[in-house]
Each structure stands twice: as structure tokens, then as C-alpha cells.
């Protein structure tokens, strides 16, 4: 394997480029119109255009991407996550074109990509699943029929896209009255995100923790599970904070969950990197939720506590190497790691997406800090794609240490010109229940904006005073240098304003 095309953009494309460079492998980026100057394009050895900015016309164009791979002479394709990463047709198209797809087989993707088929695979492996519908409910299934099925499962329940992932096409339904509207929204979101509007129903576990197990499988029959990640801190069913290990998982439970995860993967002959997601109930019982047949967004926390480079191993497995990692060490975390997903969204304004130009960027550094980012100073965050701009990960000797470092790193992090979720994470990290690891997947819904939950840290008076002083000093010194005529404040103001407008 000499040259790898990365069929993705943003931070994950950058992450894969770095792994390739570590291994002496050449890299090919692809880009849409608005991504011409994106970081992944700048960092790659080669870059090929694949179409207009809308994902459907570029990063989801299988033909254009295969064509770019052929023209560039790449011998393998890494899909990253999202876009075509869990598209069996894309994996098959790579294989047909003589390209190595760095991921599982098209058959495994198709099988586990159907959430209902994946549930059946788990049952076959002897792993418990959340009670729910065994068969998908197609777009033709009438509201009345769905209501009937829902009645048997009982409320509250979860409505999920059969082809789902990343919280898209997912709704919690508390009562029959809510079902038709939720069904309409879930189907439409699923149709636009995955091209498949089929959904299924699952009983809602009231206060579950989200625990998942990373796996690697080689082409010689070895499947190795890693120490668990906890991803219970979610907003709109999307993970926002992840950590490893979980304080809710004892060594005995870790054995059970990692063995169960490996059993599911072996049942379907799984190869390359994948993740089995579980719900952990308050009584210690756990249920298979789904399998993600790709590299996860949150893979760095596992890398930080095991020292394993998962992307490098994806590549090594794809070129036929045997997994030579020590199974015990993968289940024995070194201390603690935590990740915050920094989004270009404004937490003070209903998490409204905040695309635009990054005027200034100061990235945190120092001991125990890792920033996986696709952003740079002067770069644009386009409106067309997922608004995640960076994953900030910290490692510490203990969980408290990792949290302290995260708070320090978040305070160092400046993303100027757009709003980000950094203040939201500062709020989470200051929460007593978070600090004590007393939480479940309803944490954000229950606490965010609830009475007594405290404001975002930005609105403290002492900091407002400092901000006001800084702004006044800036305008004063800027005005003094912009115009000699200090006697006419209005014209100075205009000049200062013009100077700002020009930058």
C-alpha cells in the first residue's frame, strides 16, 4: 500500500493523513468547491476535486471518488466516518475497482447497517437486545399500523432509523399523540441522511448509560476488544463528551461487556475497526444497541488510554497484517482520557449553527492535551457539513486530573469569529453530578436550562468588566493609531469602523 485516498473532509481527513504520513504512505485528498482551501487539502500530498459543495454532489458521489482514486493511482481508500463510511455500495465499488477499502467487508457493512438485522445478529451471539420490533417499518407502513406496534412495545419508546447513526432520524416518543409527528420527522431525516426512510421501534430504557466497546478484527480470525468508552453525555442523541474508562464499569462487568462485543463481531465475521454500542441499565444489566462499522469520532480517548494508533492498525489490517497487540493490555487502561466535541454552534442561542470565517485561533497545548481539528486561522467553516470543527482530548492520571486539564485546555482555546460550544463544556465540567460521574444519557436534557443549573460561565460580572475594559482599550488605541485628528471623535469612529470592516 503506497498511496491512500481519503474519502472525507475536516478533522477526520486530517487525522488519517497524519497516520499515513507516520507510515510513509502518500495521501490523496478529495474536496468539494467550498473546501478548496480546507486544511485536509492543504496537508495532503495530492488533492482532487469531486464536485459542488452539497455533499450529495461531492463527498457522497461514489463514481467521482472512485474516478479520483483511479486517476491519482491510489491503491486504497479510507472512508473516515460519516459520508460513505457505512455505505456497503461504496465499499463494494472500491473492491470492484481494485482498490482496498480500509474498513469491513461490504457484506458486514450492509448487515450491521440494518439496525434490525444487527439486533438479530446480537441475539444469535447470545447478547441481550433492547425489546423492540424485529422487522423494519417501511415508509409505506401506515401511522395506524405503527401505532399498533407501538402499543405492544409500550411508551415511552424510541423511534430510530433502520439505516441510522449519529442521532439522525431518531426521536423519543412519550405518548401515542406524539407518534405521527415524530414518525414524519424521523422518516424525513432518515431519508435525507441515509436515503432510506425505514424506521423501527425500541422500548425506552429510562436512565441508561451509553457504554461502547471498540474492536479490531484482522483477516486471520482474530477479534480484539478494547477497554470501554462512556458516551452518556449527549445532546439531541449526539455524543458531546466521551471518556475512557467508565466509572460505572467494574473489572468484572468490563470482562462481560467486552466478551459480548467480541462475540457479536465474530458472529458476523467482522474485520477492521468497529464499535459495539450498549445501553447499561441502573441494575447493571446491559443491552446491545447497535454496531458502528467504521472508525468512531471518539476513537482518540481509546488511543490515549491504550497507546494504540487505531487508524494505523486499520491500515495494517487492510493490508493483511495480523493483530499482534496484547489482548490484556487493551483491556487495561492507563489512567483516564476525556474528549469534548467542539462544534460551531452557539450554546447561548439554542445551539444555532455558527458557520463563517475563523478570524483567530489559539489552540491549547501542554501536558496531556490533544486537539484533532480541521480548522485554521483564516479558514472558513462552511454551512454544508457537520458543524464539528475539533475534538479536544485530555489525558490525566485520574479522572479528576483529566477534567482539570480539560478545563485548562478549554480556557486556552480561542476560536474567534464564530461561536462554539466551548462555554457549554465549561458548564458541564463544573457540574457536581458530572464531576462525580453520576449521570445517564438524559443528563443534558434534564440539566441544561433547568432552574438552578447555573448560567454559562461567560455571564459572570467580573469577566464582563474585563471584557468591557479590553474593548475600550482596543478602540482607544486603534483610534489613536488610525487617525491623527483626535479632536473629531466621530470621524475617528468611522475610520476605526472602516478599519475593522476591511479585515
Amino acid at each position: 500500500m503506497k498511496k491512500i485516498l481519503i474519502a472525507n473532509r475536516g478533522e477526520i481527513a486530517v487525522r488519517v493523513i497524519r497516520a499515513c504520513r507516520d507510515m510513509g504512505i502518500a495521501t490523496v485528498a478529495i474536496y468539494s468547491e467550498c473546501d478548496r482551501a480546507a486544511l485536509h487539502v492543504r496537508m495532503a500530498d495530492e488533492a482532487w476535486p469531486v464536485g459542488p459543495s452539497a455533499p450529495r454532489e461531492s463527498y457522497l458521489r461514489i463514481d467521482a471518488i472512485i474516478d479520483a482514486a483511479k486517476k491519482s493511482g491510489a491503491d486504497a481508500v479510507h472512508p473516515g466516518y460519516g459520508f460513505l463510511a457505512e455505505n456497503g455500495d461504496f465499499a463494494a465499488a472500491c473492491r470492484d475497482a481494485g482498490l482496498v477499502f480500509i474498513g469491513p467487508s461490504p457484506e458486514a457493512i450492509a448487515l450491521m447497517g440494518s439496525k434490525t438485522a444487527a439486533r438479530q445478529a446480537a441475539i444469535k451471539a447470545g447478547v441481550p437486545v433492547v425489546p423492540g420490533t424485529e422487522e423494519p417499518l417501511s415508509e409505506q407502513t401506515s401511522d395506524a399500523d405503527v401505532l399498533k406496534v407501538a402499543e405492544q412495545i409500550g411508551y415511552p419508546l424510541m423511534l430510530k432509523a433502520v439505516a441510522g447513526g449519529g442521532g439522525k432520524g431518531m426521536r423519543m416518543v412519550a405518548s401515542p399523540a406524539e407518534l405521527p409527528a415524530s414518525l414524519r420527522a424521523a422518516r424525513s431525516e432518515a431519508q435525507s441522511a441515509f436515503g432510506d426512510g425505514a424506521v423501527y421501534l425500541e422500548r425506552r430504557i429510562l436512565a441508561p448509560r451509553h457504554i461502547e466497546v471498540q474492536l479490531l478484527g484482522d483477516h486471520h480470525g482474530t477479534v480484539l476488544p478494547f477497554v470501554e468508552r462512556e458516551c452518556s453525555i449527549q445532546r439531541r442523541h449526539q455524543k458531546v463528551v466521551e471518556e475512557s474508562p467508565s466509572l460505572a464499569v467494574t473489572p468484572a462487568l468490563r470482562r462481560q461487556m467486552t466478551s459480548a462485543a467480541a462475540a457479536v463481531a465474530r458472529t458476523v465475521g467482522y474485520t477492521n475497526a468497529g464499535t459495539i454500542e450498549f445501553l447499561l441499565d441502573t441494575d447493571g444489566s446491559f443491552y446491545f444497541l447497535e454496531m458502528n462499522t467504521r472508525l468512531q469520532v471518539e476513537h482518540p480517548v481509546t488511543e490515549m488510554v491504550t497507546g494504540v494508533d487505531l487508524v494505523q492498525w486499520q491500515i495494517r489490517i487492510a493490508r493483511g497484517e495480523r493483530l499482534t497487540l496484547d489482548p490484556e493490555s487493551l483491556l487495561t487502561p492507563t489512567a483516564h482520557a476525556i474528549e469534548c466535541r467542539i462544534y460551531a454552534e452557539d450554546p447561548e442561542n439554542g445551539f444555532l449553527p455558527s458557520p463563517g470565517r475563523i478570524q483567530g485561533l489559539r489552540v491549547p497545548q501542554g501536558p496531556g492535551v490533544r486537539d484533532d481539528s480541521g480548522a485554521y486561522e483564516g479558514g472558513e467553516v462552511p454551512i454544508f457539513y457537520d458543524p464539528m470543527i475539533s475534538k479536544l482530548v485530555t489525558w490525566g492520571e485520574t479522572r479528576d486530573h483529566a477534567i482539570a486539564r480539560m478545563k485548562r485546555a478549554l480556557a486556552e482555546y480561542q476560536v474567534r469569529g464564530i461561536r462554539t460550544t466551548i462555554p457549554f463544556f465549561q458548564w458541564i465540567l463544573d457540574d457536581d453530578d458530572f464531576k462525580a460521574a453520576r449521570f445517564d444519557t438524559t443528563f443534558i436534557d434534564r440539566k441544561w436550562g433547568a432552574p438552578g443549573s447555573g448560567p454559562l460561565p461567560a455571564s459572570e460580572p467580573a469577566y464582563e468588566d474585563l471584557a468591557v475594559i479590553a474593548a475600550a482599550v482596543h478602540m482607544f488605541t486603534r483610534a489613536a493609531t488610525a487617525a491623527p485628528a483626535v479632536s473629531e471623535p466621530v470621524s475617528i469612529w468611522k475610520q476605526a469602523g472602516r478599519a475593522e470592516a476591511l479585515r
Binding site: 439522525k168 409527528a181 420527522a185 424525513s188 431525516e189 435525507s192 441522511a193 439531541r236 444555532l352 449553527p353 458557520p355 478570524q359 483567530g360 489559539r362 454551512i383 454544508f384 457539513y385 457537520d386 458543524p387 478549554l410 480556557a411 486556552e412 482555546y413 480561542q414 474567534r416 469569529g417 461561536r419 462554539t420 466551548i422 462555554p423 465549561q426 460561565p457 461567560a458 455571564s459 459572570e460 469577566y463 464582563e464 468588566d465 474585563l466 471584557a467 468591557v468 475594559i469 479590553a470 474593548a471 475600550a472 482599550v473 482596543h474 478602540m475 482607544f476 488605541t477 483610534a479 471623535p489 466621530v490 469612529w493 476605526a496 469602523g497 472602516r498 475593522e500 470592516a501 479585515r503
Partner: protein, 175 residues
Amino acid sequence: MTFEIGVGTAVRTVAVTRNGSLLNVTLDGRTVIVDARRVGDLALSLLITPEGGTVPVQSVDAALAVQRTAGDFDVHVAGRTIPVQVRLAGGFGHQKKAGVAQGTGPQRITAPMPGKIVRVLVKPGDEVKARQGLVVVEAMKMENELRAVRDGRVRDVVVTEGQSVDAGALLLVVE
């Protein structure tokens, strides 16, 4: 030089004058001495003397991001991001008080950001209840349902399904 600076819900009055190589900054009647160094186009290192001190020592690293309106900034300070609006003295006038009253008048539903109209859930003449969904806008891969603030009747629907809209574009009017 005197500024009026909007921060949070307040308008603060700030006077800046030279004091040798330092600056005197008077904020709501209290004066601090500031040693300011520009460390970037929009970045400052400030050493500030608390009231009564003589040598500025409190170190504050501040950086600004310009917003669409001249004089509006996000100030990044001590790990916080604080929006401010800087005007010369008297510059606010009654502008600050001209905020939208939520209680009366037609509701103009506008696009919060650039996106695509996925669905229009109402038509002119429809009676709508408070919090009823009116239109679904897709932006950055998420569908956002825009809802009525209060009960009313749909007067105009300006957009159609599939249409792309800019931030601030009028979508429909409920009266």
C-alpha cells in the same frame, strides 16, 4: 475618549485617558490603571492595577473578533467569550431600547441561518396555535422546525419547499 459599551443587558460607560505610557480606564465611576500592549491585530496583553494600586500587575490576555456591525465584538478573555457593543458616548441613543416586543403585532418568521426549506407545514389562512410547527428548515444537516410564538392566523407564506434561503430571509407571516 468616552465609550458606551453594551454587555449582557446593561450599557456601561467607560472613559479612557492617557496616563504617561499607561492608560486610565474609568468604568462606571471606578478607575483602574492599565498597561496595554498590542500582541496581535485584535489581541491585547493587559496588566491592570486594582483600585488603589500603583503598579499594574493583574495579567489579562484579551482577543477580539469583529462582528457584522461595526463596533460589535466578541471579546475572548480568561477562557470566556463575551459579546460587547462599543459606541461613542451617546451612540446608543434609543437604539438599545428598540428591542422587539414579543407580545403584539404580526409574527415575522425568518430564517435563523442560510439553509433549505424542507417542508412548509401551513398555508395562508390557517389558524395556528402557539408552538405549532410552521416550516422546517434544513441547515448543517439538521432539520429545525420553526414554530409560532403565539396563537394566530397565517397571513403570507413567502417560500416554497425545496427553496434555498439566506439568513434573515422572511419565510412567512402570522398575524
